[in-house]
Amino acid sequence: MHFTGTQQIKAPVAKVWAFVLDPNKVAECAPGFKTMEILGPDHFKPTLAVGIGAVKATFTLDVQLEDVREPDHAAMRGRGAAAGSAVDMVAAMDLKALAEDVTQMDWTADVNVSGTLASVGARLMEGTAQRLTAKFFDCFRQKIEAPDDATAPSTASVPSSPASESTGAQ
């Protein structure tokens, strides 16, 4: 699955760059973020409870930053496993100053899901992956644009309230 997107962020490139290179901040934007182990400056292991509605799978990802070219390009490679499934992703972003206080972020992501999720959940897979990826990058914008002292809960990093009733016809 290949996804692309563009964000316009009301912040200077340097501020965006600083955010993106901070694993703790980025992790908070990851869907269903739970915990993170930092193994090195460019090597992290976040645990994510990814899901929509009733469907939820907890992934432990092994993430490696790659091809970091300050101040405008970075890529990451991640691999993880959950519930008989595996996910492999490669994401990259490029920053471009549109104005002094406006940065454009162009991102691409290639996500491959294998195993149970792909075999059983194929019906909803592509739409969900696309939505979660788009939310991930949109969250960057929201967090970066938020006032510096903001400690507001990261609503955007969690899918909006899941369906509470979870039953019915198959």
């Binding site: 496993a81 519930a83 008989g84 499934s85 595996a86 492999d88 491959n112 899901v113 294998s114 195993g115 149970t116 792909a118 075999s119 059983v120 194929a122 198959q170």
Partner: protein, 784 residues
């Protein structure tokens, strides 16, 4: 052979109610998952999410920390015991558990042994496996390219090509093509499908450390062959292995192979000294067990302008997955695909097949047809219609013109098979009358004028079953005979044990009927046992419609051996010369003196109480039957479809099946076999197909996506028969289990193409999904 059996005997030709039903109807069947042994442990399997990857690490510590988890078995553990690989039935080898590399999605990676099923399931989620993914080989054509990644680097040959196989006469075929007026050419793809019996696979392996004996209750269609393979693999002496195939919830060929789960459960029982149960769930069954079909076929048919067919040339690429683990006879890696000349008299034919490895589970096993006959029949029956369409002839006429005539049997086909008997025109005529073929063609013309899409499709197939003569057929060197042992007890009741095994075919009933017919003893006093290697005589098992042609014959011959001995005892009782006795109305009587007779019940008593001095006591016999030839059942099927122009939906309106399987033991059971076979012929034509995404994920891993037909999608089948006995079978039977699955798909395919033929459509591959059909309707401007 007598067909005058009375209902009190219940011999040949009677609709005897099934002896196995009383237990099934009461929920007292004994399937593998019903077996509970003291101290039994449960096994569950960790499977690979990747289709192709190196395993870099397996960490079982979290799983082992769960209370109730006793062991986690990995490929490295098996490797230490020399058990990481096992032989397949096709002289290839197959991973039991991988040491360092997985080659298909859902491949077994490790097994957890725990005290309870639920604990084992918890534990597999806690076994941490790290993989380094490799590029998967999914497309068999790309697999054959020089730079394709290797699926099997363990092999000497560094290619994905497994084997090349040919049959027929290439030069003669080329010559016939040169002289033909017309050549029609068509590529066909027969998709990957899965038998999906409602019971999945599983076993209970129980090793008795004191006796040194391994007993395995197992969903297998071939218990003896499994015993031999297990003995060869493990080194356990064969008499210390007992395979029991209890009641089986459907087989259809999917329970012939040896799956890794069985072997690991045995190893786990050997190691723990406890019985170990392993039962697949549905997704494991669909994703990892062996598959059928997956043939990419290229066919050419040469003919004269008057419709006389001359020669056939076929090239095929066969996707066998990561291991060549089909169950074909040794000399036939492409099964009996060379029966592809079908019911037609051709001058020449040539068939070539190439097997190829891909990152998928093993392919090439059965889907209610073990030996590639379905692929062959689909090809020839589609090609006949293609020719008819090209020549603007009625497909029924082309068939009638080219049928092997009834008087030509036994008939030697262009690829070397000797057909035993047949009367193809009679079967087709019967089917055409029953469905009112002429009336349907008239209706079709009227409907076409109104823009409605209706199609009529014919399939006049010839099957080849009953493997087989030992000079030609073996599996891993074991000749494909089959067997029966009969014991008549003093009071005239009987136990018969057979080397084949039932997965629903009703052997306990039909084999009792064979004995009843041959011995004149009532069917209710005859017990048939099978599936237990400690008691049943050696046999190759039930698949490929071989039970009746082989073990059925063995049963009749064993019974006749008993009758031969009984004649001597009867002579003694009647104070007559054995040569003066005749077997009449299920009794021995003195020729010309109907009053002086004695039945088998009295003879049986005498065999233990009052036998002549030159005769041994008892009344028993064994027969290992080596069939002189295959049998060739056939049939004529006609299907009528309507196509919805708004949705592309194909609906089967009527389907008439006229089958000829020779003499019939139990018409009720034969009807049932045909109903089921037709349904499993329809399913891949309309619903079932397995596909993989570019990463090698199998996309139909549940019954929500792998679409078994319900009663709503299944039409009300109309069946009829002709009877052309096999001349070489002891009671003239041929076998019927797979005929309908073999014959039905092209009838449906021909009907669908027929419905669209006036638009210029000449071929559509199965399955006929509504979107595939709708796209054709749109292309030709007739979509609603």
């Amino acid at each position: 052979m007598s067909t005058t059996g009375t209902s009190t005997i219940g011999g040949m030709g009677h609709r005897v109610k099934r002896k196995e039903d009383p237990r099934f109807l009461r929920g007292k069947g004994n399937y593998v998952d019903d077996i509970k042994l003291p101290g039994m442990l449960y096994m569950d399997i960790v499977r690979s999410p990747y289709a192709h990857a190196n395993i870099t690490k397996i960490d079982a510590s979290k799983a082992l920390a769960i209370p109730g988890v006793l062991a986690v078995v990995t490929g490295k553990d098996l490797d230490a015991a020399g058990l990481a690989w096992m032989p397949t039935l096709m002289s290839d080898k197959q991973m039991v558990l991988p040491v360092d590399r997985v080659v298909y999605q859902a491949q077994e990676v490790a097994a957890v042994i725990a005290t309870e099923r639920y604990i084992a399931a918890d534990a597999i989620a806690q076994v941490e496996v790290e993989y380094d993914p490799l590029p998967p080989v999914i497309d068999p054509f790309k697999a054959m390219e020089a730079d394709a990644p290797l699926v099997r680097p363990d092999r000497e040959q560094k290619t994905n090509h497994i084997w090349h196989w040919e049959a027929g006469d290439a030069a003669k075929t080329d010559e016939a093509f040169k002289q033909a007026d017309v050549v029609v050419k068509q590529d066909l793809y027969i998709p990957r499908i899965h038998v999906a019996s409602i019971e999945t696979c599983g076993c209970v392996a129980s090793f008795d450390r004191v006796a040194g004996k391994l007993t395995v209750y197992m969903t297998t269609q071939a218990p003896h062959a499994i015993r031999t393979v297990f003995s060869l693999v493990t080194g356990i002496p064969e008499h210390k292995i007992r395979i029991i195939s209890p009641d089986i919830g459907g087989g259809f060929g999917g329970k012939v192979p040896v799956y890794p789960g069985y072997v690991v459960a045995c190893v786990a029982s050997l190691q723990t000294g406890h019985p170990v149960k392993w039962i697949e769930d549905r997704s494991e069954n669909l994703q990892a067990d062996s598959f059928a079909r997956d043939y990419h076929i290229s066919a050419e048919l040469a003919a004269n302008n008057d419709g006389t067919m001359k020669a056939l040339r076929v090239k095929t690429l066969a996707d066998h997955g990561a291991f060549d683990a089909a169950a074909n006879p040794s000399k036939f890696p492409a099964g009996l695909f060379s029966v592809i000349t079908g019911s037609y008299g051709l001058e020449a034919a040539h068939v070539a097949v190439d097997g190829v490895y891909t990152n998928k589970p093993s392919g090439g096993v059965a889907y209610r047809c073990s030996f590639r006959v379905t692929e062959a029949v689909h090809t020839i029956e589609r090609m006949v219609d293609t020719l008819a369409q090209q020549l603007k002839m009625d497909p029924a006429d082309v068939r009638m013109k080219n049928f092997i005539p009834p008087e030509a049997f036994p008939y030697k086909s262009a690829t070397g098979w000797e057909y035993d008997s047949g009367n193809y025109p009679a079967a087709l005529r019967k089917a055409m009358e029953k469905i009112d073929y002429a009336g349907l063609r008239k209706e079709q013309a009227e409907k076409r004028a109104k823009g409605e899409l209706m199609g009529i499709g014919i399939s006049t197939f010839t099957e080849i079953v009953g493997a087989g003569p030992s000079h030609t057929f073996d599996i891993l060197g074991i000749k494909m005979f089959d067997s029966c042992e009969i014991r008549v007890h003093p009071t005239g009741s009987v136990i018969a044990r057979i080397g084949v095994q039932s997965q629903g075919q009703g052997h306990e009933t039909t084999f009792a009927q064979i004995v009843a017919e041959e011995l004149g003893l009532p069917v209710e006093n005859i017990t048939v046992e099978h599936g237990d290697t400690d008691t049943a005589p050696y046999g190759l098992g039930t698949y490929a419609s071989r039970s009746t042609p082989t073990a059925g014959a063995a049963t009749a011959v064993a019974a006749r051996k008993i009758r031969d001995k009984a004649r001597k005892i009867a002579a003694h009782l009647l104070e007559a010369n054995p040569d003066d006795l005749e077997w009449q109305d299920y009794k021995f009587q003195v020729k010309g003196t109907p009053g002086r007779s004695v039945g088998m019940k009295e003879i049986a008593f005498a065999a233990y109480t009052n036998f002549p001095s030159d005769v041994e006591a008892g009344l028993e016999a064994v027969d290992y039957y080596d069939p002189p030839n295959m049998t060739f059942p056939f049939g004529a099927y006609i299907c009528v479809v309507d196509i919805d122009r708004g949705t592309g939906q194909v609906k089967i309106r009527r389907f008439v099946a006229v089958d000829d399987c020779g003499n019939i033991i139990n018409p009720m059971i034969v009807d049932g076999q045909i109903h089921g076979g037709l349904t499993m012929g329809m399913a891949p034509a309309l619903l079932e197909a397995i596909t993989y995404d570019e990463n090698g994920n199998m996309q139909q891993g549940t019954f929500m996506e792998y679409l078994l037909p319900t009663a709503m999608e299944t039409p009300a089948w109309e069946t009829d028969k002709t009877v052309t006995p096999s001349p070489h079978h002891p009671f003239g039977a041929k076998g019927v289990g797979e005929s309908a699955t073999v014959g039905a798909p092209p009838a449906i395919a021909n009907a669908v193409v027929d419905a669209l033929s006036h638009l210029g459509v000449t071929h559509v591959d199965i399955p006929f999904t509504p979107w595939k059909i709708y796209a054709i309707l749109e292309e030709h401007g007739v979509a609603e």
